[in-house]
Symmetry: C2
Subunit: 201 residues, 2 copies
């Protein structure tokens, strides 16, 4: 065997080692994108940045409190479509607990205009309520340290109107959201409305 052949083999082995290293790095990056980069994003002012991909998140349920049934004064008119981030959902399914960094996102959605006093109308499938214009976003974030004064959850309003919504939001005052969740919700989340899907086998 010549010295040249020997060097060639060493070079090939080194190149292969580097390739494996690069591939392993690439896999690590892909892993971290799905496993750890999923939590809330904050800007320099400490405001929450609105996630851009929430329509691909996990739907948990849609309480419906139409204006028509609330003398036109529903706090959250119409459908509340509630979503959870997919990674938080996967962790919840394993542990039964919302992990730190869980985002629950509520998008409000108006109903098609009613033809009855209760706001309902008739479509091919019967009398009821039917989804229409999207109309606002509220978010709650679990962070036991950052929001220790409100039982570990912070609340954010991105606007109660048609899109586009605000791109960032400061945490809402305790009396605006957290107070009602502290008084009425099971451990800060109205989980009984979401349990049928969240806890489905």
């Amino acid at each position: 065997m010549t010295k040249t052949k020997h060097l060639t083999q060493v070079f090939i082995a080194a190149a292969l080692l580097m390739s494996v290293g690069l591939i392993v790095d690439a896999l690590k990056t892909a892993h971290s994108e799905t496993d750890s980069d999923w939590g809330p994003k904050w800007n320099a002012k400490g405001e929450l940045i609105l996630p851009s991909d929430y329509h691909t998140w996990i739907f948990l349920g849609s309480p419906l409190t139409p204006h028509s049934l609330n003398e036109g004064k529903a706090g959250f008119p119409e459908y509340h479509n509630v979503y959870i981030h997919p990674v938080a959902y996967q962790i919840y399914k394993k542990t039964g607990e919302f992990p730190e960094g869980t985002i629950l996102l509520k998008e409000l959605q108006l109903t098609l205009s009613g033809t009855n006093e209760d706001g309902s109308r008739v479509e091919a499938s019967g009398r009821g309520f039917f989804p229409a214009q999207l109309n606002g976003i509220d978010i709650s974030v679990k962070d036991s340290e950052r929001f220790k004064d409100t039982n570990g959850w912070g609340f954010f309003n991105f606007g109660h109107h048609a899109p586009p919504y605000a791109e960032t939001a400061a945490v809402a005052p305790k009396e605006a959201c957290a107070g009602c969740h502290i008084a009425n919700a099971d451990n800060m989340v109205f989980k009984n409305f979401y349990a049928p899907i969240l806890d489905a086998k």
Copy 2:
């Protein structure tokens, strides 16, 4: 350099080559799972197999036709939570058309029992309707060849009751589902109810 060292180097190089090959194969497999294996699955009898992961699909909207507003006779009582497969959704977002193999899945969900004649009740967020027990699944599949007699969509019932649902379903007779969609829906899909989320920017 000894012959043993030489063989060791050749062995290491071969092992590294195999490792790279295995990693490349693994990446190819991961790719094909997300890119082409997303359509409907059929058993040997030509029945549709119920997807197992539909709670992670894209939520499109939830028409609500409660029994209480339909003299106890709603064809699809309560919430109809409608989902689309994520890959079909991504293709729709690019093309504006449901691709061949699109699955639209409707899971029925009862409401918490009402305290008013219209079936509504009062919770912290107001008077309205609130999600409760899951209660059935219907699926429609776009396949222009297989379902050419019903405008390219087939309809399947997996049970109108609490889970577990049927694991497979034969296509429903034309008069059971397709007829109503042919008569009432825009191109077979009640798209006006889903457009606010489906077509959101």
